[in-house]
């Protein structure tokens, strides 16, 4: 018998309200319907009512987790219209902040993924080592989130030479801890049993659904704007793209963990090679024209298109965020797995999530499961696997 499990709009996996309708047969998920639009605030429209410099503050508020990515792509798009590049020092500063943000975002995902499979220890440990990073952001840019480092023509704030040792000290700590997390997660048989061969997204499906970022790289499809179309300091430093072919949740976790290592490597090299000089090219006027900006956000490629008619505000601003395609791939990834795995699989593409559990399973109009029950089902599965391993 087919039943419907509506998840949302306020549900355990996302902070942004979004609506998923799981269609289940017994324990098995057979189909998924996605309904988005609960978070529509009209950014593209508001952008056309603000001046060029104000828009970079607006696009920052599209997403708080990747609040560096959207202004980054936006300033790249505007610089494309004006045909200028930022001074070398500003390029390095932007790259450093972009990579530090990647670490913070991946750690956030890792913690919540741990929570969903009932490993709250993973959550608490990971988030503990995320805190010093937010302190670093506060030190460099004056705010824990929403850093406003990107400015048309350069960077808004400089990284002071006396702050270098603090960043390096944190990177040393993080490198050790990241190795610890990687080993702890890959060695734990229970975590492996929960994540391995769950929510498999094949390479063909990844290409068909046009997924980007760690979701694509975890499915064996190598795409990364930082390598494919290098901008700023990414072609001046040495780093590797992380690709795993399996396509399951474990592969996505591995991609994110190893990417944190690569990010540490990039930040270290940037700090070492950072040239002196100005941090801003003065831009007096935006000529008529159109430009595009691409940035590899923690979740995938962010794309901004901006058109100018020579006035002091954009006439058209189009934003494409990575989660839009990644969420659609859930339809194939979740099919055939149990309800206990659904919470994890839906979270595996790293949409921006939170812990407001408001999910219900309806059977002939009668409430059966709540969001808490779904999490409990997931935790119970982990407990069962643990018990099996103890025997």
């Amino acid at each position: 018998m087919r039943r419907i499990v509506p998840i949302g709009p306020y549900h355990p996996l996302q902070e942004e309200p979004e609506f998923f309708k799981l269609i289940v047969e017994g324990e098995k998920v057979v189909d998924l319907e996605i309904n988005i639009g609960y978070n529509h605030r009209g950014h593209e429209f508001i952008s056309q009512t603000l001046t060029w410099d104000q828009v970079s503050f607006l696009v920052e508020r599209i997403c708080g987790i990747c609040s560096d990515s959207h202004p980054y792509a936006y300033v790249l798009a505007v610089e494309d219209i004006v045909h200028i590049t930022a001074p070398p020092r500003a390029q390095y500063i932007r790259t450093i902040i972009g990579e530090l943000e990647r670490i913070h975002s991946h750690y956030l995902w890792l913690g919540l993924a741990g929570h969903f499979i009932g490993y709250n220890t993973v959550w608490m440990w990971v988030w503990r080592y995320r805190e010093p990073l937010l302190d670093l952001f506060e030190l460099i840019m004056g705010n824990r989130n929403h850093y406003a480092i990107n400015k048309i023509g350069g960077a808004r704030r400089d990284i002071l030479p006396e702050d270098y040792p603090k960043i390096e000290k944190y990177l040393d700590l993080l490198e050790k801890k990241n190795t610890m997390f990687t080993n702890a997660i890959l060695d734990d048989p229970v975590i492996r049993a929960r994540l391995e061969n769950v929510g498999v997204l094949t390479k063909e499906d990844a290409i068909a659904y046009a997924v980007t970022g760690p979701t694509a790289r975890g499915s064996g499809y190598a795409c990364d704007v930082r390598k494919d179309d290098p901008y700023d300091a990414y072609d001046k430093v040495d780093w590797n793209m992380v690709v795993f072919p399996e396509g399951d949740v474990l592969a996505k976790a591995k991609v994110r963990l190893i990417e944190c290592h690569e990010s540490i490597k990039i930040v270290r090299q940037c700090l070492k090679d950072m040239p002196d000089g100005p941090i801003e090219t003065r831009v007096d006027e935006i000529p008529p024209g159109e430009g595009i900006g691409r940035h590899e956000a923690p979740r995938g490629e962010v794309f901004h298109y901006v058109r100018s008619d020579g006035s002091n505000m954009p006439v058209r601003h189009k934003v494409r965020a990575p989660s839009y395609m990644n969420i659609a791939s859930n339809v194939v990834a979740v099919r055939g797995y149990s309800i206990a795995d659904a919470a994890l699989v839906l979270a595996a593409v790293d949409p921006c999530y939170c812990c407001t559990e408001r999910t219900f399973v309806y059977e002939n109009g009668k409430k059966k499961y709540s969001g808490q029950d779904l999490l409990r089902l997931s935790w119970k599965k982990t407990e069962d696997i643990k018990r099996r391993y103890k025997k």
């Binding site: 309200p17 639009g37 009209g42 708080g64 987790i65 805190e131 929403h146 939170c354 812990c355 559990e357």
Partner: protein
């Protein structure tokens, strides 16, 4: 009976986190509250999964046309008295989203708000202070 409820509320407020159309930042800072550095569970503040058990609503983000009926429904489901704590600049006033066609205003236009915590996002210390202030008012 009212006094008993107030007494219980002051000791260990259970909070429900309601995000209308947020940018996630306030929401992550709320989750940060239960992470090891701030750990508000030592004050008895617990994040719970249902508005029907909530003593306080932590509301974030602006309200848009699609979420408004749902937000009101969540507020109606909470047992009264229920504190409403508006977290972040968006929840206090629509500020940057004022020109938007889809935003229907801040929370205090649609429900009584007890405490405003401005900031984009407010720091976790500020949020703890706001919750304590709300409790002291009771």
């Amino acid at each position: 009976m009212g006094n008993a409820k107030l007494w219980g509320l002051k000791k260990s407020p259970w909070v429900f986190h309601l995000a209308a159309a947020p940018c996630n930042n306030c929401d992550i800072e709320i989750l940060d509250l239960i992470a090891p550095r701030w750990d508000v569970e030592r004050f008895g503040i617990v994040l719970i999964g249902s508005p029907r058990h909530a003593d306080a609503l932590l509301v974030t983000g602006v309200i848009n046309r699609k979420t408004l009926p749902r937000v009101l429904r969540v507020y109606e489901q909470t047992p009264k008295p229920c504190l409403v704590i508006a977290i972040g600049a968006c929840a206090c006033s629509p500020n940057i989203f004022t020109p938007s066609y889809n935003v229907v205003g801040p929370y205090d236009k649609h429900m009584p708000v007890d405490v405003y915590i401005p900031g984009c996002p407010p720091k976790p210390e500020t949020m703890i202070m706001g919750i304590i202030k709300a409790l002291k008012r009771l």
